[in-house]
Amino acid sequence: MEVLGIWIAAFLTLCIFSFLYRDNPFYRFAEHLFIGLSVGYSIVVTIHQGFIPLAWEPLSEGVNALQSELTSEGTPETKEALSGLFKIIPIGIGLLFFARLSPRHTWLIRYPIAILIGFTAGAAIPNVLQASIFEQTYGTLTPFAAMHAGSLSTGDIVGAILITIGLICTLVYFFFSVEHQGPVGWLSKVGIAFLMIGFGAAFGNTVMGRVALLIHRVGFLINDWLGSIF
């Protein structure tokens, strides 16, 4: 079974690599098989790691507790499990997603979507403001406090000043209410230069990442597959 697995994996790996020659039926077969399998696996995992523990189990425990409560065998534990019954409301709302299957009732999926979207937006506003705006601005200013205290090396002072200049100029580049002429134009030019260095850094690191993916696959083919033959 294990050897068979390695051979199948190697075959499918080669099917996908065959795309490098050109688009072909082997590649298309593997790609579609992959889409099917991965959606299937997501369904399985979402049911077993999502629906069942979060919705089904608390609910069924609640129902059992209700039964024993009605037959007056209630213990403190069953009282607690009874709270699982309240979950019937969010479960009901979640089930509205099935309205997607009926064109006439599709609008019902707006209810759960509205809740999820409102939740996300509400969580985002204060936390993003704190984490990404307040603290990023704070981090730009703290080196200057250290500079005042005289505890910063020359290299760090240059760094802090460059970061501040770069940040201000990048902000100017993404400022749309003023034409970029004169001093604003100059600042935005410096800003674009900083942006390009940033993108260049991302570019270089991305190359490392992509190469890593290939090395990993070639490692599999050579060590695990060919290694199992020779």
């Binding site: 490098l20 020659y21 991965s38 696996y41 997501s42 995992v45 979402t46 790691q49 999502g50 523990p53 979060l54 189990e57 939740f119 996300t120 969580a123 985002a124 936390n127 993003v128 704190q130 984490a131 990404s132 603290e135 990023q136 704070y138 981090g139 970061i163 940033g198 850094a201 991302a202 690191n205 991305t206 190359v207 490392m208 990442g209 992509r210 190469v211 890593a212 993916l213 290939l214 090395i215 990993h216 696959r217 070639v218 490692g219 050579i222 060590n223």
Partner: protein
């Protein structure tokens, strides 16, 4: 001549890449590496944790990008098990639980760690934001059982753990924007300390968070894995991979240079 050189079939370049990867894979070499600040900070933080501390390791990547985070996970797990730091594994990726579960098991067996006492894997729950915020109020409210179905209450290492207040660090092994989500929601809202191990694509965007201490430290891609392995004095997949990557990098740098030289000559001729 130049026209021809510029328009060579890209498959020739593909063959070159394949050769440059296959040869060093067959004949591995090792070059010295330096350790930079982001990885050093993470290593120091974990190294200074008292025995019995607990960290969460979030496997937030999928099979498509496992090449980089996997060596990082191995190195940090090894470090934790040797330092007697407990590890709780989770994932926000639906296509990840099997891989993460097996990986933790493997490293634990190699280092003599015991399931339920030194480490546990809680598995996956849908909805990243909900899981991150929910675990901050009550971990058992999100993960009532571990991945294998054992109730949290029956796992010895989870005895004194209710929420992030008892967690010393969250290490996010990321191939997407999950680290930012952990920073924005777990660090800002609950003051949980965050560290990361990220794939090449997202390395550059981690630096602002490191400077503000919103990140304790992070491992930048293959390089980070190699650095961590060096600090542990245990070269592994990262070190082997990065050395192989050296040659591919040289090839790509050469190709960019060659392409641009041809481009400039062509442009001068046209003028």
């Amino acid at each position: 001549m130049f026209e021809k050189l510029m328009n060579i079939d890209r498959r020739i370049i593909f063959v070159l890449v394949a050769v440059v990867v296959i040869i060093p894979t067959l004949i591995p070499i090792r070059l010295p590496t330096r350790v930079a600040e982001p990885t050093q900070k993470l290593y120091d933080y974990i190294d200074e944790l008292p025995p019995g501390s607990t960290i969460i390791m979030a496997f937030d990547y999928g099979p498509s990008s496992l090449a980089e985070p996997e060596p990082m996970a191995k190195a940090v797990l090894q470090h934790c098990f040797n330092k007697d730091v407990r590890v709780i594994g989770i994932t926000l990726y639906a296509n990840m639980p099997t891989l993460a579960d097996k990986l933790m098991q493997k490293i634990a067996t190699e280092n003599g760690a015991v399931y339920g006492e030194d480490y546990t894997f809680l598995g996956y729950r849908p909805g990243a934001l909900q899981v991150i915020l929910g675990m901050g109020t009550n971990i058992a409210g999100v993960f009532e059982t571990d991945y294998h179905g054992t109730a949290i209450a029956e796992i010895p290492m989870m005895e004194n753990i209710t929420n992030y207040d008892q967690i010393d660090l969250l290490l996010d092994l990321a191939a997407g924007s999950s680290t930012e989500a952990w920073i924005i929601y777990a660090n800002t809202r609950y003051n949980l300390k965050i560290a990361a191990g990220v794939t090449g694509v997202i390395i550059a965007q981690m630096y602002p968070y490191l400077q503000t201490n919103q990140l304790v430290g992070f491992m930048p891609g293959y390089l980070g894995a190699t650095e961590y392995e060096k600090l542990l004095n245990a070269p592994g997949d990262g070190t082997i991979g990065l050395n192989t990557a050296s040659f591919v990098h040289l090839l790509i740098i050469g190709l960019v240079a060659l392409g641009n030289i041809a481009f400039f000559i062509q442009r001068r001729r046209e003028e």
